[in-house]
């Protein structure tokens, strides 16, 4: 056991080196231009003419093509695309760079749930000054509400994840189970399926914060209310209750496959029929194609089941934006790239690459809606996704420190999945942990 301290420190050194490398690689952060107050749409055009360098931290694969196109169109601008990790890894590096005062990129990919944390910490720039406010109609409401926070616009939506239910048609047909349209039907289907084949489950779930909050969102719940630094957390509202009532039964009756999403078992389960449905964001098809190629033709998309028969409510799951950092050297130029990638020509390039856009023009375009998915047996799945995007329930907000809250989800709510703790109690424990952290961080928190 002696080498553990050694190995640990070796790891720490490796992490430090990696951090140092990524920081220096995109370093050279002279602060010129960050004080420029004359920010308007004209300055964006001027910046494009003048040229310069933009460093972008993002993991979204379709951006590579966008960068190539952008540089071809504006030869004076050089874009450095750096993959500094996915999600949390990148946020950690980003937060460290911001804190260190150097090494931060000009543009960073930030998921919707994490954006308000960066906006609050003043690490990202309010883009209203560059004309971003006029773009509110260009995006579907879910993503737009996520970037228009605290009275500003802190990023432009890159993609979106209006939810849909993907189902394995082969499995449901085999046991003659109708595609559920409400969550009550979903529960019935779960029972019927598991009874017919004890190895098959309606879906997998080992406790996923993003999924639970999305379903509460769809049910009309508002567990989080945020007003500047005043935060309220309440998992006792009617929307949350709708969710816990159904989900508690799925957990207690052991109708959920104990398989964690994105694990090897998960891909295997999606392929071999162990997992019959998957309710998630519209960005999923690309993952089906690459991760579950053997089940091509088995799966279809359907609207998300409803909490009340006849409704069409939906919610977002995942999705991310591009934000301009407060420390960016040339903010107008950085904004020019963001706008190109997320509003102008870049969007088409990214759709071709398999991304799901957030722009209403593309969501409603006939070509987009008519796209046939060979993986889904030729189904025009975008019609379902686009409808879902328009039906996202309004008024949802995440915590300004959702990144932390999600990290302790399995500590608290996870108990409901592996013991007899009721889900509603477990959500209460999560609420307590979120409130405590908020108070520690100086928010005035109720709940």
């Amino acid at each position: 056991m002696t080498n553990k301290p050694l190995r640990r420190s070796a790891q720490a050194i490796a992490v430090l080196c990696a951090a140092a490398l990524s920081l220096t690689a995109c370093g050279s952060s002279d602060d010129s231009g960050s004080g420029a107050k004359a920010a308007d749409a004209g300055s964006v055009e001027a910046a494009l003419k003048k040229g310069g360098t933009v460093t972008v931290w993002a993991w979204e694969p379709t951006l590579k093509q966008v960068v190539t196109d952008f540089q071809a169109k504006y030869p004076k601008v050089k874009v450095k695309l750096v993959n500094a990790g996915t999600g949390n890894d990148q946020y950690t590096a980003l937060q460290n760079a911001v804190q260190a005062g150097s090494g931060a990129p000009d543009v960073a990919q930030i998921e919707y749930y994490a954006l308000s944390q960066f906006a609050l910490g003043k690490s990202v720039t309010d883009l209203s000054a560059y004309g971003a406010k006029d773009l509110s109609k260009a995006y579907s409401p879910g993503p737009w509400n996520s970037v228009a926070v605290n009275g500003g616009v802190y990023a432009l939506p890159m993609d979106s994840g209006p939810m849909a239910m993907f189902f394995n048609k082969k499995v449901l047909d085999k046991y003659k189970i109708a595609v559920p349209t409400t969550w009550d039907e979903y529960l019935t289907a779960a029972r019927a399926l598991h009874k017919a084949d004890p190895k098959a489950y309606i879906t997998n779930d080992t406790g996923d914060a993003g999924f639970v909050t999305s379903l509460i969102w769809q049910a009309g719940g508002h567990p989080y209310t945020v007003d500047g630094t005043k935060v309220n957390v309440d998992f006792g509202d009617a929307g949350t209750k709708k969710f816990t009532e159904v989900w508690q039964k799925l957990i207690s009756e052991k109708l959920l496959a104990p398989i964690t999403s994105w694990s090897d078992q998960w891909y295997k389960g999606l392929a071999d029929g162990t997992i019959a449905t998957l309710s998630t964001g519209a960005w999923m098809p690309a993952n089906f194609v690459s991760g579950v190629p053997s089940a091509s033709g088995d799966w279809r998309a359907a609207p998300l089941p409803q909490w009340q028969a006849g409704q069409t409510a939906s919610a977002e799951n995942g999705g991310s934006s591009l934000a301009v950092m407060e420390a960016a050297k040339d903010k107008p130029l950085a904004y020019a790239f963001v706008k190109y990638a997320n509003k102008d020509a870049g969007v088409q390039a990214r759709i071709k690459g398999g991304a799901f856009p957030a722009t209403t023009a593309d969501l409603n375009s006939q070509a987009f809606l008519d796209t046939e998915f060979p993986y889904f047996g030729g189904q025009k799945a975008n019609e379902i996704f686009a409808k879902s995007a328009g039906n996202v329930a309004k008024g949802w907000s995440y915590l300004p420190y959702q990144v932390y809250a999600n990290s302790v989800f399995n500590d608290t709510v996870g108990k409901a999945y592996v013991s007899s703790t009721p889900l509603s109690d477990a959500l209460g424990t999560w609420q307590e942990a979120s409130v405590k952290y908020g108070k520690d961080q100086g928010f005035s928190v109720g709940g």
Binding site: P5, R8, G414
Partner: protein
Amino acid sequence: MAAIPPPPGTGRAAPPRGRRGRRWLGWGFVAPFMIVFALVFLAPIGYSIYLSLFRDRLIGGTSFVGLDNYVQAFQDGQFWSGLGRVALFLAVQVPIMLCIALLVALALDSGRLHGRNFFRITIFLPYAVPAVVATLMWGFMYGDRFGLVADINDAFGVSLPNLLSPGLVLASIGNIVTWEFVGYNMLIFYSALHVVPRSLYEAAEIDGASQLRIVTSIKIPAIRGALVIATIFSIIGSFQLFNEPSILKPLAPNAITTYFTPNLYTYSLSFSGQQHNYAATVAIVMGVVTMIIAYVVQLRGMRKEA
């Protein structure tokens, strides 16, 4: 053996004038070491202590809070539960691992085994596997949907308990750590046994001592120093438990909490909670606790030897 000549008288022979100069000269020789020592050992500890006196908040920024973080750490149920968990781990896993290692070392040393070198290498081999790889490998075996446990369940129609459930995951980790480090500890014991003069065994045999008696009266007392060292290393290793739970966490997200061990807690505090200051505090408290326990064990071990 020739007696070592006493060192030549030093202080007396030197003229008094040179004393001061020579004292500085001495520091000069030590300086390269001292600089590296200060930079590599003292500075990080000093910086951690400095960090632990502040608190950085999302709202309100950084402020000096004195010993508040320490007060918080002592009242932190999550920290103590993590510490309790590694203490339990220490109390159960370390004795098992060291006993197995000792048995194997004695078996190899007895000279009655065929293919001694083969066994020595085989038992040592897991130590050469990186902990990350070892844990991933075991994680796959533990999985009850695919992997070894699933295969056993299928083949024999039984339903083994889920090794990654909250009640069993600590034991599962103990199994991985034992597998990894038995060979390493065996090697420490084996090399200590190697230097015991064979003539002692012969003398004991002539006196009519059984093999068991030789083991308990000669071999084990002779390697007490190695036993103490191995125990101290194991204590430190247990308190620093991180790799195994951290890698198993994605496989058992609800069984391994973010505060499963103190090290994992420190890691989550600073990387998902951005609470660097409090993480530094927890790390220091943990370091002090480890030092105290290792020191107590060392004192006890050495006293017995005397």
